[in-house]
């Protein structure tokens, strides 16, 4: 089809080709001009002595000075405090936090009130920071419970004393900083100082991180404004130059993109020998630019930063992986947990896939649905359920076991807050990955391969070992590797189960480190490099090595696998599988529901006075929850819609054109989906804060982009496979009937792939909707999502309430899944 089109245009080639070439050259030159202007602007900026770069340097040196001053003058003073005084300080801070949270939940109505509050909050956080310095990086849980011994008056005295020494006396500012500080208004100065403070801050507490992020954003936007005003005040530049100066990096970025695109376009066009600017080209370029800038750049930057942490080459950052105990432990835990999950998950998935796919087990369809549905459930929901079940003190299973075996009331026998506990929960969530991969391969296997073995004299069991199993090996390995990567990259489960038990993994450490200043960022980078490289190597193995060795021959005729009759084993095996389903799926879901009606999580829901609907009504009537829900719906919808447009374009390019570069974006999309979420988010944080021309840090955009990079693949695969099933001749026969390309798309191709498009949309939407790992790193107070809100409720507020929220999410996701099933007649229920 395209060849014909090309043929047509070839006739009028000469004038069009010339215009196109001139146009390309012009755009290329424009790019060069922009880069030139940008560089000029940066030079001017630098010579003005007030570049953003300088400002950052000043702030950075300042932060170290402040740190020193703080260590020298304030900390010793605080160390003199008695234990009880420290405890009360904790209490005050917790109290202040509570106040802040409450005023927040009252609704963010009046802006003035909000402003006042933020000023107040910043003080609170300073205090909290102080206690952190005193007590180490963790506010002890006891701090939340201890009753204050300090009176109202004492507390406020203490607070003002602290503030005083932080803001005024303890801060001998260096000259430059003094100058800089002098040009700022009082509140700006405070904000700047706050930033300085938290750049070297020492906590991963979500509340603090959130506020720090906000402050950083404010300060940064103030800076660029300040710069601009300052330049204008100097009076010697036009507003246009001013604009270029204040956004020189963006201008350079734009220039680079234009140059890159025109070169790429010229290369592609000369390869095709067709010098006509087609809409196809624009689309492919947009997608490539998007992926290069938002996906490849951050990943490469992480690699770069690992060996050039501050511009000079050093292996120190990577060496710390093996020398710094926290890193060592995290790596070891992750490796142990992922490996064990892989082995356990595959060991569960293979027999299940065989029983469900190849035998006459009762209720096969139902079991298949049940095991596959787990794939759609947010992992942290499962973690919450198992935490309630296997909590060493009050876990239901523990209580039950104690009664059954007449054990003492001592904690245990099971403890979820351990590596085995985490492995168990990871397994319950990731065995479906192996199950899906393996059963897909089993169903596609030509049954005559096994029959040939039978007729050759091999018994059914012998056939399983000599034919079925070896033939399944590639799928088995790739299923197992998928489980390994997923378990390794998972954040939701370790964050809920591992952290309270002090079982840290690479992902939880990365999230924690990000807030810990320069050294923290270095460590996070190093861990990310490990995570990313392992994930990408595994992706390479399963996509390019194993895929070639797949023995599955997809023949034209439909294959109905031979069913093994279980005979007398049929009932016992059905019972075993049912029991498994009850343990893996039913009990966790019921636990979540059950907990959501409790007042006291430790007591039975039917205990007098323990049943309440308040959790549900409270959670779902709070403006904050609704706001987060709205955010989640909006972000996920945008990510799914834009993602699907890209997916459609990509599948058209892949399936219907012979364009030379069409595999590049599809490769990048595969790469993105294979990269662990935490790494994607970290990469975006490190590159999207203005240093590469675009500052979207702390906005909704950065989250939507992260979601798209991670989940685009789900949608693309669906649409591509749908399109590959529509033979080109269907489109060609529409064209030969006189329909234009657009009409053909609208009347023939569109309707045929519509169900898959809908399926693809939901496949992107659902995981984005409940996303947690990336959100944890990228959110700001205005862009919180429901997944994160749930996590916060679980960690800081109330477990029953978060269970109510979790069950709500669960129902919503299951309904979407049913809808998806309906839309595609059961073809894409995952």
């Amino acid at each position: 089809m395209d060849k014909e089109k090309h043929g047509q245009t070839n006739q009028q080639k000469d004038p069009t080709a010339l215009i196109t070439k001139i146009g390309l050259a012009a755009v290329f030159l424009l790019g060069v001009l922009l880069i030139f202007l940008g560089i000029r602007a940066q030079r001017d900026f630098a010579s003005s002595g007030f570049s953003t770069e300088n400002a950052y340097q000043v702030i950075y040196t300042l932060s170290r000075d402040v740190e020193n001053a703080w260590q020298k003058s304030v900390k010793p003073g605080l160390n003199d405090l008695s234990d009880s005084e420290k405890a009360s300080l904790d209490e005050i801070v917790v109290g202040l936090l509570k106040d802040a949270a409450e005023s927040q939940s009252k609704g963010a109505g009046a802006e003035a009130e909000a402003d006042a509050r933020s000023a107040d909050e910043s003080e609170n956080y300073k205090l909290l920071y102080t206690t952190y310095l005193v007590n180490g990086p963790k506010v002890p849980a006891s701090g939340r419970k201890v009753i204050t011994a300090m009176s109202e008056q004492e507390a406020s005295d203490f607070r003002s004393k602290l503030l005083h020494c932080v803001l005024d006396e303890a801060l001998p500012l260096p000259d430059e900083a003094e100058k800089l500080a002098g040009s700022l208004t009082g509140s700006e100065r405070q904000a700047m100082l706050m930033q300085i403070f938290f750049v070297s801050g020492g906590s991963a507490d979500a509340k603090i991180t959130e506020n720090v992020n906000n402050l950083k954003k404010t300060v940064r936007s103030k800076e660029s404004q300040l710069t601009a005003f300052r330049m204008i005040a100097q009076g010697n530049v036009s507003w246009l130059w001013q604009l270029i100066i204040s956004s020189s990096r963006t201008v350079i970025l734009l220039g680079i993109i234009l140059m890159f695109d025109t070169v790429l376009l010229a290369l592609l066009m000369s390869a095709e020998k067709l010098w006509v600017l087609d809409i196809k080209w624009i689309l492919i370029l947009l997608i490539v630019d998007f992926l290069l800038y938002f996906q490849l750049l951050p990943l490469l930057f992480i690699l770069f930063r690992a060996v050039f942490p501050d511009g000079t080459f050093t292996m120190e950052v990577l060496r710390r992986l093996f020398t710094y105990p926290l890193n060592q432990v995290a790596l070891r835990n992750t490796f142990i947990a992922a490996t064990a999950t892989m082995i356990l998950g595959t060991a569960i998935a293979f027999p299940l896939a065989w029983l469900v796919g190849r035998t006459n087990l009762y209720g096969k369809k139902f079991f298949r649905f049940l095991f596959v549905v787990t794939y759609m459930v947010p992992p942290y929901v499962g973690a919450m359920a198992w935490l309630r079940l296997m909590n060493p003190n009050v876990g239901s299973i523990n209580l039950w076991l104690r009664t059954l075996f007449h054990l003492s009331d001592a904690p245990g026998p099971l403890n979820v807050y351990t590596i085995p506990g985490m492995i168990w929960v990871l397994t319950t969530f990731y065995y479906p990955y192996a199950f899906i991969t393996i059963s897909r391969a089993m169903e596609k296997m030509d049954p005559s391969l096994e029959e040939a073995s039978r007729i050759s004299g091999a018994s059914p069991l012998k056939t399983v070992f000599t034919v079925t199993l070896p033939m399944m090996t590639p799928s088995l390995i790739s299923g197992a590797l998928l489980v390994f990567v997923s378990a390794m990259s998972c954040y939701g489960i370790p964050s809920i189960i591992g952290k309270p038990g002090n079982v840290n993994t690479v992902t939880t450490r990365i999230v924690e480190y990000v807030a810990l200043g320069q050294q923290g960022l270095n460590d996070a980078t190093a861990l990310s490099v490990v995570l990313m490289l392992v994930a990408l190597i595994i992706l390479f193995i399963s996509d390019f090595v194993l895929a070639r060795r797949q023995y599955i021959t997809v023949s034209g005729k439909s294959v109905s696998p031979a069913i093994v009759h279980l005979r007398s084993w049929r009932i016992p095996l059905t019972v075993i599988v049912s029991l498994f389903a009850v343990i893996m799926v039913l009990i966790p879901f019921i636990t979540i529901l059950n907990t959501s009606f409790k007042v006291d999580v430790g007591k039975n829901v039917w205990a007098p006075g323990n049943f309440t609907l308040a959790n549900w009504t409270t959670v779902f009537s709070r403006a904050e929850t609704m706001g987060c829900l709205k955010n989640s719906l909006i972000y996920a919808s945008i990510a799914a819609t834009v993602g699907l447009v890209i997916a459609c374009v990509m599948s058209y390019l892949l399936q219907r054109t012979q364009l030379k570069g069409r595999k590049i974006p599809s490769f990048l999309i595969t790469l993105g989906s294979g990269t662990p979420s935490v790494v994607i988010a970290l990469g975006l944080i490190m590159t999207m804060r203005g240093n590469f021309g675009l500052n979207i840090y702390g906005t909704a955009y950065i989250m939507i982009i992260a979601y798209m990079i991670k989940y685009l693949m789900m949608g693309m695969r669906t649409v591509v496979s749908a399109m590959s099933q529509i033979h080109v001749s269907m489109e060609e026969s529409s064209q030969i009937s006189g329909a234009s390309w657009l009409t053909t798309m609208r009347r023939i191709t569109g309707p045929l792939i519509l169900p898959s498009i809908a399926a693809g949309w939901f496949l992107i939407f659902i995981p984005c909707f409940y996303e947690l790992s990336m959100t944890t790193l990228l959110y700001s107070s205005t862009t919180k999502t429901i997944g994160f809100q749930l996590y916060e409720y679980w960690t800081f507020t109330s477990q029953p309430m978060s269970c109510a929220m979790a069950f709500g999410i669960l129902i919503f996701v299951l309904l979407l899944n049913l809808l998806l099933n309906r839309l595609t007649k059961g073809e894409f229920s995952i």
């Binding site: 030509d446 005559s448 391969l449 029959e451 040939a452 073995s453 039978r454 007729i455 050759s456 004299g457 091999a458 018994s459 059914p460 012998k462 000599t466 034919v467 070896p470 033939m471 090996t473 023995y551 021959t553 023949s555 031979a562």
Partner: protein, 357 residues
């Protein structure tokens, strides 16, 4: 070698009855072909013989030993049968040698024995030089021969072939026919061959079983089944045939639709009949019994495919290709009928293609 006795076997899948009371015996050393359109039940018979399907009722004996029936069921691996599948079912994770050796390794034959037998059978199937290759490196025809070699290596008494040539291209298919037949002759093995290709069946078979709608319509040698079909379906399925309605009596059959022309007939039928004439059995002859106007002719080189109008009827004549040059469209012409088949015209729905049900 081996006999197969199918004793009143019926098979239904759910509601649909695919085999109805099949009752046949395949003789020792015989090359039997089960022929029929797709969905006729021929593969089901083969799979019942192999033991991959169980009949709904009836018994199956191999060499007078009951293998399926009543409470007896001998599983496929205990039947000592060789089988070639339509998709070849060559195992991609084993090389050619291992694929072929598999039935012997299952039997725990000694290594040297295995090597000898496999080499012998690879020799017969012209695969010797490919022994170390993996199936994915071989062509369809070669994979097909691996499947054949594997089926024969353990010297089974009975060889089942399920449309083994249908995935090959035309030329290869033709040469494989003769190869398979040669191998069968050499080894004297009993073969049950399933196909929907009539020329395949005609080339190789000692006996053809023509099956339609789960019933054996006719069985016999290729000559019997082609020349004396028992019903219109059989006549139609094998070769080309045109049917004409006629009236038999007084030693002749009159065709009302051909302006009352007639041909001599000394058979037993009288009254309404269906006359089946194969186009290659009519020839142009000045003293032929029928006459008409030559309407069209298609020159195919070796033959001249003509249509002659007689009254309201078009008669197809496949004449010698040489005659094309002496004939003109529109000319009056006489035709002689060398042989024809007469069936009762019972006026039922299936009158044209009468089927045994």
């Amino acid at each position: 070698m081996s006999t197969v006795t199918i004793d009143h076997i019926s098979k239904s899948f759910g509601e649909s009855l695919v085999l109805k009371e099949i009752n046949e015996t395949f003789q020792d050393g015989e090359f039997v072909t089960l022929l029929g359109p797709s969905g006729c039940g021929k593969s089901t018979i083969l799979r019942i013989i192999a033991g991959f399907e169980k009949p709904t009722s009836g018994n199956l004996y191999i060499d007078d030993q009951l293998v399926t029936g009543g409470k007896t069921f001998v599983p496929p691996e205990k039947r000592g049968i060789g089988m070639v599948f339509q998709s070849y079912a060559v195992w991609p994770h084993m090389n050619v040698f291992d694929n072929v050796a598999y039935p012997l390794t299952i039997k725990k034959v000694s290594k040297s024995e295995i090597k000898k037998s496999v080499e012998q059978v690879l020799e017969i199937t012209h695969l010797t030089q490919y022994a170390d290759r993996f199936p994915s490196q071989l062509s369809g025809g070669q994979q097909q021969r691996i499947a054949l070699a594997r089926a024969m290596v353990a010297a089974p008494k009975l060889l089942l072939l399920d449309e083994p040539l249908s995935n090959l291209d035309a030329k290869l298919r033709e040469s494989m026919r003769f190869e398979i037949k040669e191998i069968q002759k050499k080894t004297g093995i009993s073969v049950v061959y399933v196909t929907h290709d009539q020329s395949e069946a005609m080339t190789m078979s000692d006996r053809i079983f023509l099956i339609h709608r789960g019933v054996v319509q006719q069985s016999g040698t290729p000559v019997e089944i082609y020349d004396t079909p028992k019903n219109q379906f059989v006549a139609d399925f094998l070769g080309k045939v045109d049917f004409f309605k006629g009236e038999a009596g007084n030693g002749r059959i009159v065709f009302p639709a051909m302006d009352g022309q007639s041909v001599a007939y000394d058979g037993p039928l009288t009254g309404k009949v269906d006359v089946g004439i194969r186009p290659e059995n009519i020839c142009f002859s000045p003293d032929g019994e029928l006459q008409g106007v030559l309407e069209t002719q298609y020159y195919l080189g070796d033959v001249d495919d003509c249509r002659v109008r007689a009254g309201d009827t078009l008669i197809r004549v496949i004449a010698n290709g040489y005659e094309y040059h002496s004939l003109k469209e529109g000319q009056q012409i006489r035709m002689a009928v060398r042989s024809f088949m007469v069936f009762e015209d019972d006026g039922s729905l299936d009158q044209m293609l009468k089927i045994r049900t």
